[in-house]
Symmetry: C2
Subunit: 227 residues, 2 copies
């Protein structure tokens, strides 16, 4: 499995912060050695180590290659705030399954209230490094009621359209809306009904919330030959 | 999400061990109350609590219903010993995605050597309870070299047949062979080649080992309309 260094690009250099610098030392890289780096901008960088300090290190860019793979249709995952281990799992798998963006909302039944994007971005970057992908997905907090009906599939038990048909009908873009782990409130379900959202269920079999999300992302990738 | 009690069936009674008895007390069930129970035999039991002791409790069976759902094709997951958190995750998701059996082998690159089935069975039972399924999948340790070519798909990067075609061609039964997390050894790969195993890759995108497994199980369920 590849492991890329993740840093900040400044002109023709990439700056690694403390944690990445430690990793550089752990794998015994010295000044003059070559390493692969990503910065989240869609490019793979081949670089040469030119400085290793206590708190950071500096890589000089030798070669720049654009990621060849385009992941299409575009997937936007919208996720209700849930227990951290489950959130972490879904976001990790969503990045591996190459979603283009992730939004998180506080549902009425959410028993968590995350305020900082940092811990989410840390998981995203860790997964990009380990699975060799150079483009960082967008991440933000949203209000559930700002979600538009168009191109959105809500995952819930009380479906109103067929899962398979819905997955096969996806065109250029899809929003997958799920959770939180404790489910949607009565008001939230009414919002979906009043606004005629497409509601799908991955099957009669009871799945945990995170499994339903990973299952759905997997099937979209398979049907659309996306990976 | 349902939560069933898991116990041992003895005639028309179900015996709950200590941990399940504690759970019974936590949710404040008393003698005379009704609870739902499973024993792994394929039936859902409606029961009445007749004894609550320190170390166990006894439920009397009131009604017995067979699980209506048959999961077909049958899936047998064969998994290389890997880090525990990854093993745990795959087995949990495999049970949710209703595999009929799980086998675990020690690959040459496995850095773990599990000897006891107990910790595996504990995860399996926990997942059955939480996702309401009454039939316990088989679990055992196997030798990789005892795997037969017939009906087996090996998940690896160096595929020799098309993933989509392979998934669509599955008939009554399939063995999904994967891992360990550090990959197959040279000898193991030669064994697959010499014996002409079908080797598939879920895509060009690099996935972690557990993600490839969950992705593959998801696609089989979707294509075969299995859940």
């Amino acid at each position: 499995m590849p492991n890329f260094f993740f840093g900040d690009k400044k002109d023709d250099k990439i700056i690694l912060e403390k944690e990445e610098t430690t990793h550089l030392k752990v794998i015994k890289k010295n000044i003059g050695d070559y390493v692969e780096a990503i910065t989240g901008d869609g490019y793979f960088y081949r670089t040469k180590v030119i400085e290793i300090n206590k708190k950071n290190s500096i890589l000089s860019i030798v070669e720049k290659n654009k990621s060849k793979k385009e992941y299409f249709p575009k997937i936007h995952l919208i996720l209700g705030m849930s227990k951290w281990d489950r959130m972490r799992l879904i976001i990790e798998k969503a990045v591996e399954l190459r979603v283009q963006s992730v939004s998180v909302f506080k549902g009425q039944k959410s028993n968590q209230n995350y305020k900082s994007v940092e811990k989410f971005e840390k998981i995203i970057i860790e997964t990009l490094k380990q699975t060799g992908f150079p483009k960082i997905p967008n991440f933000n907090f949203v209000d559930l009621y700002d979600t538009k009906k168009k191109n959105t599939l809500v995952l819930d038990f009380e479906q109103n359209i067929d899962f398979k048909t819905a997955i096969e009908s996806i065109k250029d873009q899809v929003n997958i809306l799920i959770g939180p782990d404790l489910g949607f409130s009565k008001n939230e379900k009414e919002f979906f009904k009043e606004n005629k959202f497409d509601i799908v269920s991955p099957g009669d079999t009871i799945m945990r919330f995170e499994t339903a999300a990973i299952y759905t992302l997997s099937t979209i990738n398979f049907i659309k030959n996306r990976l």
